[in-house]
Symmetry: C2
């Protein structure tokens, strides 16, 4: 299709849903992408721009002709328009903003002034509000007459004279109610959650999920209604934030995407690997300290990665469960002590199961190889106890590391996988080789 | 508060939002939970039931008086009612269903007949549809007259004479349009995605996210409209499914929650740990095979966990990125080859960086300890090369394992962390000790 057949491409791309078109652009190689946009005449539909993944957005936006881009941006609701422009450098952004009609431009400037990942960035300024004394009929007439409405909305926000939201009416309730009923009779404040412009988007997503919200009013410091956030924007954030947890656990910066260059991607992943190099050397030096023991009983060198590895994986299981529980707020400080005890219990149960299993395997194997029953029983005991102890410690580390990071106000997921494997390696090696030195030498 | 003061508890719980009440129940200990429900007279508001976490739902439902439960269930939309009842055993469920009025009971039976995690389970049967020739005015009049409507809805679905959905009209568009306009003029089929009752909930969540849907019609095999799914149900699924990925990577069954007992939880985590025990022993046996080498050069035992551990963590980074890319469908078979090459490139860059770093550290340390420059250079070369090779292999394993699982039709995340550490341990030990045997002995 890349054979420069502009007309056929036009026809094809017109049929695609904006979201699919955006995905197509994501799948293409950088050069193909620029070429496709050229063939489409240097422009893309506004909705497609709003759907682009953040890691390819910049390259697409730069490939567009500025006047086509400005036209498309002016078409979008403020939240989508800010999303399209946020990654550009100052100069380029100013150039595009200059081509946008003045009222839209002011709104966009204000939107871009809010911090990234805040409610202010997420909201659209187009919002419909009504005073409490209006009737259903008045509202419907007003809606029919107005053309400055948001593209889509799901609730009418009811405001007091200071423009503070005091209630909301879902459109379905509005439609079910006779014209003469005043809105104050059908509005409810139970479902209403005011969102300050400065709220972090993760917190916004939590409110939407917890209270099954479809849209919510955004207010400034004096609680005046300044915009609204709708659930379709939030669905994406829920997805993003949850994946961020998964990536953060392994020490990957969340901004890295599949379309970044090799060097860029490597750079995103290096920082925590450097930390990991030193923590791994710490674990290595524990082994080094027991060099004399290993020299005499080489079989220890073969068993020690089993004990450390099992600790690492069991601890990562606890870690994943804990990060999830913190994110969904089912783990809070009020029940932390109980959950920690429970995880320690799980670690103990697993530790006993696998301790017995591994000690039988190690003892049996040693007996088979050396024919020395006394020594084999001792090896079995050392191996089994080390496994049990390490799995208990792994469980404790798996829950205490994210809880500790959370208490310090840090992201509980960040690089926790690296901290965890350090703990399980160091204690696994130390306990196993230490016990072996005492019992077997 | 647990001091049996029923009245004060009543007042307190009445004030709570159903979602917060459900969270409170989740934070309580099993016994306290049963006690609280007793004090509240054996009943809970219907909405609170719908908000319960799945792992405590069963215990709460069993603590309620059957007649109070039946009353609450009859109040709910079918999707929430099915959700409350799905975990109960046959007998208990029949007992409750018997107390529910006949039409609701039939609907509930049908809902429970659909598979868990399918669109049929997720949908509510209450849905409003209109033929295409109606006018906006007719629809509004009909909505005002009817009382069998869903609690909340966001779109009117337009159906043809066979009850097949042919378009939809958002309520906001309906409200903006004069009464006399026929609905066929304002409906659109662009945003319409028909969801078959059998579709998996993960697929449903993907459609909602991809196309920014607020609600979608659910159809049976003959494409007749049978219900609808709304976005509030989907937000929770997006969250669940994404967390499932994170848990699956570490080999935790997703059903496990913070409120399960210690033994139950341990049982959930054991299966993959058993697999891990054998894969770890595989890695251990590689070390065992090089016992003679280690006996002569004990410092290798201290360096080998560093190389294996770095491989494990770097590979897990790639793994997390890949699982995410597969879930968001930014990685598909059409661009797989390119992304694999890119990850291999990232592995090579990181491998060179950390290979050089570790070889300098290992060589310097060896020189300091032994004073033998020739031997130290050799050790540095072996260590550095092993690190580089292992990081490239780690990167390849991190992307090829989930891609392979995906191609086999399995969940790309499932236990991939365990497979990955096996690969990085085995190759890390093998390459490092093998090279050492060749070069240093």
């Amino acid at each position: 299709i890349e054979a420069a057949d502009a007309e056929q491409l036009h026809a094809l791309c017109d049929e695609l849903h904006p979201a699919d078109m955006a995905d197509l652009l994501g799948l293409l190689h950088e050069d193909e992408r620029v070429r496709l946009i050229e063939l489409l005449g240097g422009g893309l539909p506004a909705e497609t721009l709003a759907e682009l993944d953040s890691d390819i957005r910049e390259s697409v936006v730069l490939a567009l002709k500025p006047e086509k881009l400005a036209e498309a941006v002016a078409d979008l609701d403020t939240d989508d328009a800010a999303f399209v422009l946020e990654d550009l450098d100052e100069e380029k952004r100013a150039e595009i903003l200059a081509e946008i009609p003045v009222p839209d431009r002011i709104a966009l400037h204000q939107a871009l002034d809010y911090e990234e990942e805040s409610a202010g960035r997420l909201m659209q300024r187009e919002v419909f509000a009504a005073p409490a004394y209006w009737t259903v009929g008045q509202i419907i007439d007003r809606l029919r007459g107005s053309d400055d409405l948001p593209d889509r909305f799901y609730e009418v926000f009811v405001v007091d004279p200071t423009f503070k939201p005091v209630g909301s009416v879902p459109l379905s309730t509005l439609l079910k109610t006779p014209r003469e009923v005043p809105i104050s009779q059908i509005m409810s404040d139970r479902e209403l959650r005011l969102i300050p412009v400065t709220m972090d988007q993760e917190e916004v997503a939590y409110l939407f999920e917890q209270y099954n919200l479809i849209s919510a009013p955004v207010v400034d410091e004096s609680e005046r209604l300044v915009g609204m956030i709708t659930v379709d924007d939030v669905v994406e954030i829920v997805h993003e934030e949850t994946h961020e947890d998964m990536l953060a656990m392994t020490g990957v910066a969340a901004e890295s995407g599949l379309s970044d260059s090799v060097i860029e991607t490597a750079r995103f992943r290096v920082p925590w690997l450097v930390v990991n190099l030193f923590t791994a050397m710490l674990a290595g030096s524990v082994v080094g300290a027991f060099g004399a023991t290993i020299e005499q009983i080489v079989v220890l060198a073969a068993l020690m990665p089993v004990i450390a590895g099992m600790g690492g994986n069991a601890g990562t299981q606890t870690l994943a469960v804990t990060v999830r529980a913190l994110a969904t707020k089912t783990l809070t400080f009020s029940n932390a002590a109980r959950v920690v005890m429970r995880e320690a219990g799980v670690g103990l149960v697993n530790g006993l199961v696998f301790g017995v299993l591994l000690s039988l395997l190690a003892g049996g194997w040693s007996l088979f190889m050396s024919g020395d029953p006394d020594r084999s029983v001792k090896l079995a005991l050392v191996t089994g106890s080390a496994m049990t102890i390490n799995l208990v410690i792994a469980a404790l580390a798996g829950i205490l590391i994210p809880l500790g990071l959370h208490r310090l106000g840090a992201d509980p997921a960040v690089a926790s996988g690296i901290f965890l494997t350090t703990v399980t390696d160091v204690t696994g090696f130390f306990v196993f080789l230490g016990l072996a030195t005492i019992v077997l030498l």
